[in-house]
């Protein structure tokens, strides 16, 4: 799994951090998403897919 972000699209909802806190965080100053782990281990994959699916700005791309 490889994750890429479109920071420009990110709306700082923080939903990805609520779903997958090991993989995503938010910048303190504006809440924009920060990728903690672009290639997370298998046990994180379900949470990452969920985060990508529910992101209200469609800013998270998951590549196989």
């Amino acid at each position: 799994m490889n994750i890429t972000l479109d920071e420009d699209k990110c709306c700082a909802a923080g939903q990805c951090v609520l779903v997958a806190p090991e993989v995503f965080d938010q910048r303190d100053e504006d809440g924009i998403v920060v990728l903690l782990d672009a290639q997370p281990p298998a046990e994180q994959h379900a949470a990452v897919h969920e985060a990508a699916a529910i992101c209200p700005a469609a800013a998270i791309q998951v590549h196989a």
Binding site: A12, Q15, Q26
Partner: protein, 412 residues
Amino acid sequence: MTDGRIAVVGASAAGLAAVEALRRGGWTGALTLIGDEPHLPYDRPPLSKQLLSGDWQADRLGLRTTDQLDALDLDLRLGTRATALDAGTRTVTLADGERLACDGVIVATGVRARTLPGVAGTAGIHTLRTLDDALGLQTWLSGAERRLVVAGNGVLGCEAAAVARELGHKVTLVGRDPLPMRRLVGDGTGTLLATEHERHGVRMLTGVLDGVETADGHVTGVRLTDGSTLPADTVLVAIGSEPAVDWLRADAALDTTDGLRCDEFCAAAPGIYAAGDVARWYHPGHGRHLRIEHRMNATEQAMTAARNLLAELGVTEDERRPFTPVPYFWSDQYGMKLQAYGVLAGADRAETVLLDAGERRVAALYGRDGLATGVLAAGLPPRQIRGLRAVIATPGPWDEAHARLLAAVGGE
């Protein structure tokens, strides 16, 4: 292997999430996605933000690439309206008369902008719901200074007014309530928004739109119900929306009062589910039917509706699960971001626990029948805002939630 057909009616965020969840869940039969707009699925929140401001072009709004859509192997019908649904036989009728016999149907037709009767074709009058609406208004606002009246000071009207003001236009924001968004967010946040709009030079008026004045097919002003008129060369009608359920009305088995009524599984009838802005479903945690016009709900509800449909059809061995989300919405105005968790609409109580207009900081609690159901904040660090979700994740006693919110935001 599955054969047969599932039709998803509505090709925006909810419809797209539904077809993806159906494929992920194992549906290998025909999958028809019907959208009345000619465009591939695109994202709507930027319409009143980055697209209207001209920061983004339309191609940034696409929710998926054509490769990603191709991989779903859809029977994609864009620019196509569904005109009827027979719930008993699960048959969808299209505008050209074609009838699609289905095993399951997911209704995701969203809402339509309310407008004024008799203004179609009048130059300068706009609504803002679709990409074409937004491009039309953007073009109108991309040149010389306009005199814009925004009729309606809800979320959409406020966001559009902020963008238009930042583009340098003369903007008057008219609402039936003197404070922007007050019906949704209450006094404290409404006051903060009023301060921001005023500081940026938006003129705010209390009034209700009655009609428009025109000359030579062009709008020249708006008329309010108190008899006053406001000069305008551009009008944005942002007076709310209506669920797109006209096409469902012929089937008496479906309750289409304020959206398509569904049970806790998002089912309106056997094999018929709904998701997104159009769905009014029973939320067990809130003990009532809710209809939520927020971007995140579109995706989450579509995923649940799709999973439950597959469970009902026996495609998966899952049990159907009630849809019990913690709703989330945000609004951007003048670089300020309002964020809310839970349910604010229908609150009989709202209390602002933190308000600092100078620092553009606010936190407020909303509730109903003695329970806290929603929380809204702006200007707080992201970690703090995320923490507010837990305060109302399950509606609970007002006083407890109030104390937790105070502790979380460090208010008095």
